[in-house]
């Protein structure tokens, strides 16, 4: 076999559920997991005589996203009917956008694991309604059941150009998009709730024997997690190459094929070809008027765009002196980034704050059980206003992991900042600090109280320290002599004795200084 290069080419279509209180065309609530068909009305049921009316907030959130992606906003946008018959689509058409999407030609900057940055071009952003849910009836048999609670939920569809070249880039794009929408606050992007659905379009470009050919494009439908996307794309890369070796079927010959992903077997499979699947008979939705957004309104939204993830990450590295890795961890979720920044600000010790958050706090979060977070959620519900109910919903589904999205529920930024300051000031040492953190989480009391109550304050009082030092030196003549002889390592033995005798309260930094002076060669 002659030399050949194989290039993976992937374009992504992502559906993002927008964070609105009500559906796109009616005022039913967009809630998750309740009794089937309990959030429906004649409009989203598609009953005879009903009409859609556009949700202003959904439109605003979609515009915000399009702006953040650097898209050109359409001066004039409209909606279209996309026709297909399915029991979860009561009108048997979906109101979507066809030829005049609200935003076009933008890009998303991604960062791959090896630190490279790349701009992935965004073809279009548009707004459409979701369908309901079809489930197979229990006990097998010949029936399916339809729940229309989700019907009419606002979805934003973001379509990229086929600029992605590897599984890593695909993953970076997906997580980057999730990060963006949560930063903007346009979506909760909770994967368990199906807020983001991915459809990679993947093929290979194969160069060999002096020519280049492309394999048929495979559209993978409805992947709902990053892991599924990674595995599916990786599988397709291999499968398409194998298929190519067998039959050399090209893009020109076969066009586009739809495949589904089986998470259990880890394989893609051909989906039953829906005949006429491509004749959606689009035409402009006559019940909705066009939208010509006012420039002032657009600029107002643009002015309110928050700092975007990579920009924030770069700023953390630059201004706070954090490592690239730490900055990445802290900016992964907007809630964590805001939390960290508050702690850094209040404690005026950004690097230490970073350590306390990424190590101390996250460790405690991961160690906590289910009971704890439910209690935290219950407290939140009482203390915060209705906006936090969304977090409570998320907590229900995610379990303890959710604490990463709401670190302020574990310990408030103000309280953590106090702890950071206390350690920086030398009031407690790091070890004691860990104990204080545990205490703060468990009791909700502030650092100062716990330090006082448990007597965890370190002593920097020279007089008191001298006493322990004298006593330790007396008890460890050998090591003392070693240190005087220049063997610095022996200090450790004496330090250990002092820390034990003082029950951890001796300030190790000051003790070290004093010891070094005392035992100077």
């Amino acid at each position: 076999m002659s030399d050949r290069t194989v290039q993976t080419v992937v374009g992504m279509e992502v559906h993002v559920q927008l964070k609105t209180r009500t559906k796109l065309f009616c005022s039913c609530e967009t809630r998750f997991g309740d009794v089937p068909n309990s959030h429906v009305c004649p409009v989203c049921l598609g009953m005879p005589g009903v009409l859609p009316v556009m949700n202003r907030e959904a439109y605003r959130l979609a515009v915000m996203t399009a702006l953040a992606l650097g898209c050109r906003l359409a001066e004039r946008t409209k909606w279209d009917r996309k026709h297909y018959y399915y029991p979860d689509l009561p009108k048997n058409f979906q109101i979507s956008q066809y030829d005049m999407p609200l935003g076009e030609h933008g890009h998303l900057e991604i960062e791959t694991p090896d630190g490279d940055r790349k701009k992935i071009r965004i073809l279009r952003v548009h707004l459409e309604e979701d369908a309901g849910k079809l489930t197979h009836a229990e006990g097998g048999g010949n029936a399916s059941e339809v729940d229309l609670n989700r019907t009419g939920t606002p979805l934003m569809e973001i379509v990229s150009q086929p600029d992605l070249r590897s599984v890593d880039e695909v993953r970076a794009y997906c997580t980057g998009l999730r990060q963006l929408v949560t930063y903007l606050g346009v979506s909760e992007a909770n994967m368990q709730m199906g807020h983001m659905r991915f459809e990679p379009n993947i093929n290979l470009r194969i160069t060999e024997d002096g020519g280049t050919a492309a394999t048929p494009i495979v559209e993978l439908k409805n992947l709902n997690s990053f892991r599924a996307v990674e595995r599916a794309v990786a599988f397709e890369e291999r499968r398409q190459l194998d298929e190519w070796d067998e039959g050399r079927l090209t893009l020109e010959q076969a066009g586009k094929v739809t495949r589904g992903w089986n998470d259990d077997t880890g394989e893609t499979f051909v989906q039953r070809q829906k005949e006429e699947a491509h004749d959606y008979r689009y035409f402009p939705e006559p019940d909705l008027v066009v939208v010509e957004p006012e420039v002032e309104w657009i600029e107002g939204i643009r002015a309110e765009l928050p700092e975007l993830p990579l920009a924030k990450k770069d700023r953390f590295v630059r201004d706070f002196g954090l490592s690239d890795y730490d900055a990445g961890v802290l900016t992964a979720h907007i809630e964590m980034a805001r939390y960290y920044e508050r702690v850094a600000e209040l404690s005026d010790a950004p690097k230490a704050a970073a350590n306390w958050v990424t190590q101390g706090l996250l460790r405690e979060i991961n160690a906590r059980g289910e009971t704890f977070y439910r209690e935290a959620v219950a407290i939140t519900k009482r203390e915060y206003d209705k906006a936090e109910d969304a977090i409570a919903d998320v907590a229900e589904v995610m379990g303890p992991q959710f604490m990463q999205l709401a670190p302020h529920l574990v310990v408030s930024a103000e309280k953590l900042a106090e702890l950071v300051s206390a350690v920086e000031a030398g009031t407690v040492n790091k070890q004691a600090g860990d104990k204080v953190l545990k205490g703060m989480i468990e009791t909700g009391r502030p650092a100062a109280e716990i330090i006082e109550a448990e007597g965890l304050a370190q002593t920097s009082d020279t007089a008191e320290l001298e006493k322990w030092i004298e006593e330790a030196i007396a008890a460890n003549p050998g090591p003392a002599a070693d240190v005087r002889a220049g063997k610095k390592k022996a200090l450790g033995r004496i330090m250990g004795h002092i820390m034990k005798a003082s029950r951890g309260k001796a300030n190790p930094r000051v003790v070290t200084e004093l010891l070094e002076k005392k035992l100077a060669p």
Binding site: M47, L51, V53, H83, Y85, P90, D279, F283, P286, D287
Partner: protein, 501 residues
């Protein structure tokens, strides 16, 4: 008792005020008339007699107690069965596919009627899903023209038109997509108005063609039509296509209306081949009468009239094919008893539930929208639609209204046009353009043929000038005195106009 039903709604209100009658008597008379005649006329698909009488009684009590009353308080009315009513009566659209459908909500216009105190006695017959010009396409049998039971009442709002013509109710609501109020109004000798697109909320009107549908009143006088329009017109936040624009005082526009200085345009394209000679004579006489009353008349041209039918039937059927896609037996409506898989269920349910004309239009519309044909058919029709609108814009720069026949003929016999669908479509030739151009149009009776069949004069004017139309209708109505003639059918009531048989 039957004399009560000769009163207009406004006259009824006055009589109620003066204590000369009660709402209960009005509604009871209405129900008795329906009972006596509807076996033959078939205007109604469903009735709600007990509730109607109870509501009438309640209205009487409120009136007696001096409580505030709505503008239609205690007046019996009828509503075309393609408008949702949530009070237990089905909303069938005269289709077997919705034979048992019970809407969980009231249409905006129904709420408005109830809010005005009107007493809805029942739902009226129509061509299935409002698709037709004769009510012969009803899934539950046709309505008969009260002026001649062997002839059609026109369509699609044949039931409402007949109910008013037979004086079962003084006023009723219909819907008009290509002439479905005006045509039956003409054939049944009553006033029928299609408002400007967007003047009346479509929320709760079962959609046929979304960009053409409008709800409007039937009445025997322009004043009654004005009263009805006043009640139902106005912005509705549930209908994004309803205009946010104040509603003028239509009654004031009608009161003391005259046509002095009115500039009337008579389109030459409306007086060509196919127009019945008698109809033409009566229409021209009405125009002359207006001239005598001070109007000026000139010939105008609506050059794209010849293309209106095709344009309409492409736009309307495309939208209809989409609007009717939801009738699939999944969430409501008829589901085929025997079926295989999902697709089979859809196909059988729809085949069983829809009548032939509905199927034809769905197929046409689906074809017009399908890939490969979209540009040549649907898109092309939308462009011609703009040309038709521009025709009217140009004409209204020169005249205040456009006048002509509503229908090329008076009421035709059953079966006369059903063999060839195309021939039925051609009966809409004069009315269709108004829907395409979104302008308001009205039909007012202007005389009778030698055979005693009513003929309607159609008047169209610029957007949001319904007051002008109603004023002209008042003048023509007075001039021709058509409202005083009643269908011979009413003479068959026992004792002439006395107690019903």
């Amino acid at each position: 008792m039957a004399d009560l039903l000769d009163l207009t709604a406004i006259e009824m209100l006055a009589a109620l005020e003066r204590g000369e009658t009660t709402s209960r008597d009005l509604v009871a008379a209405s129900l008795q008339r329906i009972d006596a005649l509807d076996g033959r006329v078939r205007a109604f698909l469903s009735l709600r007699p007990e509730k109607a009488l109870a509501e009438a009684q309640a209205a009487d009590a409120r009136r007696a107690a001096g409580e505030p009353l709505g503008p239609l308080a205690g007046i019996p009315v009828a509503v075309k069965d393609n408008m949702c009513t949530a009070d237990g009566l089905p909303t069938t659209c005269a289709s077997r596919i919705l034979a048992d459908f019970r809407a969980p909500y009231d249409a905006a216009v129904v709420s408005a009627l109830r809010g005005a105190g009107a007493v809805i006695v029942g739902k009226t017959n129509l061509d299935e899903f409002a698709m037709g010009s004769s009510t012969e396409n009803s899934g539950f049998g046709p309505t008969r023209n009260p002026w001649d039971l062997d002839r059609v009442p026109g369509g699609s709002s044949g039931g409402s038109a007949a109910a008013v013509a037979a004086r079962m109710v003084p006023v009723a609501l219909g819907s008009d997509t290509g002439g479905s109020i005006r045509l039956p109004a003409s054939l049944c000798g009553v006033v029928g108005l299609k408002p400007t697109y967007g003047r009346v909320s479509r929320y709760g009107l079962v959609a046929y063609a979304s960009s053409l549908d409008q709800i409007g009143p039937f009445a025997r006088t322009a004043e009654d039509a004005a009263l009805m329009l006043q009640v139902v017109a106005g912005h509705d936040p549930r209908d994004a296509t309803s205009v946010d624009r104040g509603v003028p005082d239509y009654l004031a526009a009608v009161c003391g209306a005259d046509v002095k200085g009115l500039r009337i345009g008579v389109p030459k394209e409306f007086f060509g081949e196919g127009l019945d000679a008698e109809v033409e004579r009566l229409v021209r006489a009405a125009v002359s009468a207006c001239q005598d009353a001070g109007a000026t008349v000139r010939e105008v041209s609506l050059p794209h009239t010849a293309y209106a039918i095709e344009t309409y039937y492409l736009v309307a059927t495309a939208e209809a094919s989409s609007n009717l896609a939801r009738y699939d037996g999944v969430h409501y409506g008829h589901r085929s008893a025997e079926h295989g898989d999902m697709i089979d269920m859809y196909c059988r349910s729809r085949a069983e539930g829809f009548g032939d004309e509905v199927k034809r239009r769905i197929m046409l519309g689906t074809f017009a929208l399908s890939s490969g044909y979209y540009d040549a058919y649907y898109l092309k029709a939308l462009k011609v639609r703009r040309l038709i609108k521009q025709d009217f814009d140009a004409v209204f720069a020169q005249v205040d209204c456009v006048v002509g026949p509503t229908s090329p003929t008076a009421a035709f016999r059953f079966g006369e046009k059903t063999a060839d669908p195309l021939s039925m479509y051609l009966s809409d030739i004069y009315t269709i353009s108004a829907n395409l151009a979104t302008i308001p149009g009205l039909s007012v009776p202007c005389g009778f043929t030698v055979a005693g069949l009513p003929v309607g004069l159609q008047v169209m004017s610029d957007i949001f000038t319904e007051g002008r139309l109603l004023g002209i209708a008042a003048v023509v109505g007075q001039a021709t005195g058509a409202r005083h003639r009643q269908p011979p059918l009413l003479d068959t009531l026992a004792g002439g106009k006395g107690v019903a048989r």
